[in-house]
Point group: C2
DNA sequence: CTGTTAGCGCCTTCAC
DNA sequence: GTGAAGGCGCTAACAG
């Protein structure tokens, strides 16, 4: 069946310990190393990760927990995390928690079983219960998201206020004035942060946004975005721009606008957030605020690796700065409603 | 630090063995069970997964290896796999191999270390080297993809021939006659299968497809699709429809068409494959052949679980049947080039 | 430099 | 029903 080190040692004619040392580059005579290496090769010996884990106390595995693997943002984070930790010989255990808290907590509790050496988690909802579990966690954890200030956990976050500000300023600079907002659920961390940021950005620009120009989708998904945007565009007539709290919601805005015959960007400019792959794939291409998904994933992974190396280092909080990526959905000048047929024309695409 | 069963036993005033039995529901007196349960609760005891692994020989972990986590198809598979195996108490270790074979092989070799009890792999390129490694694997594996007939490995596959046939027939039924094809790399399993399927479907319909109506993208990605489609639409004038080997390539066709002022679907019908989330998000919404990504993931997971339960069961091969999902990108009637300005109008959307 | 020995935490015979 | 003891595969002390 499975080849053990004992068998290798026997075949090489040395003791178990010598075999171990020889393979691990500890002090051993050239002859022993040669004998053992050869026996190992002949038997196709592979060390047992389970036994090594038990012995060393570490699994060389890290867990990555996200709300929704379906959202491309998390995929980018995942990829960044994986790429980063692989160099240090870690594998990544993925865990999609759904947007339900119970699964989060369940995962955190099971982490105590020691199947992973650390955790990167990007929760949609940061509840007291979740924080309590994080606090009693026996392995290092890095949270991607907006953590309360008094929580002593390594943390990487996007800068939503600046990000939303970039979007609003860009729209204002393009001559838009009647700006609507499609947010995600307000009981989520990004939902609350981005909603607040939108209000402030508008206030700072001296823009008064009526209540009906802001809607909240049931979820950060395309379907929810389409519904919410439909409501928004119907209830707040005359909008000339919409900011969406993420790209999926923005795609929903496109669909709602199309249904109402509102041309994008001619009649309605749209700006998304996250700058996920989708932004470049849509037509017209979507202007979006890059909140640094990959960067956040990478930095979270780095923080985790650093803490694994030195458990006593001071807690770090990193903020990834946003960047506006201007594409077609916001670049054509605003036009009055009836100047041309609704629809996209190739002339408007760069 | 970490609470061990020994400590629980001490606190409960029973032996290690009794504590183990009490917690695992083996024969033990009610009193012992009570004492142990209480001690465990008070100490917040959690069994150590590493030790259990070593003892039992199983990790309750399964690995899932895919070429590209960035492709939504794999995300859907991943989700299905995770959902399916979670019920049986397995965790999923994700491994994105890139499209490079070396990483595949590397993973397979390291699987011998016993950190996972089984593997689901969906390789883009099924090479001899890969098959050789699969063959000498010490844990059960299920391959999603087109495996050679003589390989005795549990296998789940899509039905590309039927799928491409559905696309072509649908286009013919909508009155399209000059159909182009954007394929992915021919050295990949899906690329080869779909290319072949397209040729046959056209032949079966009595359609002769000139060589220039078929192009091969460098990769199954949006960027590669845009490039390839640009070439296609320029070199094969007068096409009234394009089938793309996946949805990302289809999105590329949209962009290339827009650049050339070819209205979709008025001038050019487009059909994608995979029916990923993207299909519904694009505008016009993309008609696509659902190849059952989620179903393939789920079935692969089921096969793997079944084999873990019974290593001696006969090898199974499952084929997931495709389904055409008709949306807007293929439903408007074909029109001559100059009848109207290029662009999409809301009237064309259902 | 090498071999012997003792665990890592758990489960599981085996006697009692 | 219970406790003592052995061992999963490996590494790290300790002697020699």
């Amino acid at each position: 069946m499975r080849v053990t080190l004992t068998q290798v040692a026997q075949r090489a004619g040395v003791s178990l310990a010598s075999a171990s040392r020889a393979l691990n580059g500890e002090s051993a005579s050239a002859r022993t190393v040669e004998l053992v290496a050869r026996a190992a090769r002949e038997l196709a010996y592979v060390p047992d990760a389970r036994a090594q884990s038990l012995k060393s106390g570490s699994t060389r595995q890290l867990a990555f927990a996200v709300a929704d693997v379906g959202n491309h943002v998390y995929v980018e984070m995942l990829r960044a995390v994986e790429d980063t930790v692989r160099e240090d010989g870690y594998r990544v255990l993925i865990s999609s928690t759904g947007s339900a808290v119970p699964r989060d907590v369940e995962l955190l509790q099971s982490l105590g079983r020691g199947f992973a050496d650390g955790l990167v988690i990007s929760p949609l909802r940061i509840t007291g219960e979740l924080l309590a579990e994080l606090d009693r966690l026996s392995v290092p954890v890095v949270v991607i998201g907006l953590l309360p200030d008094d929580v002593a956990i390594d943390n990487v976050r996007a800068n939503s206020p600046v990000g939303v500000g970039l979007a609003v300023d860009h729209l204002l600079a393009s001559g838009r004035r009647r700006i609507g907002f499609v947010n995600g659920p307000l009981d989520t961390t990004p939902g609350r942060a981005r909603g607040e940021a939108f209000r402030r950005a508008c206030a700072a620009a001296g823009l008064s946004i009526p209540a009906e120009a802001s809607v909240v989708a049931d979820d950060f998904t395309f379907a929810a975005g389409t519904d919410a945007a439909g409501t928004l565009l119907r209830q707040a007539e005359g909008l000339d721009a919409v900011v969406a709290a993420n790209d999926l919601l923005a795609a929903g805005v496109y669909h709602a606008a199309a249904e109402l015959g509102l041309e994008v960007p001619g009649r309605l400019a749209v700006v998304g957030m996250d700058d996920s792959a989708l932004a470049a794939q849509l037509l017209p291409t979507l202007t979006s605020v890059d909140l640094g998904s990959a960067a956040r994933g990478r930095q979270a992974a780095e923080l985790l690796l650093a803490r694994l190396r030195d458990p006593d280092r001071p807690v770090q909080r990193r903020v990834v700065q946003p960047r506006l990526v201007v594409r077609s959905s916001s670049t054509a000048p605003s036009r009055p409603a009836a100047s041309r047929p609704a629809g996209l024309t190739s002339e408007e695409r760069p």
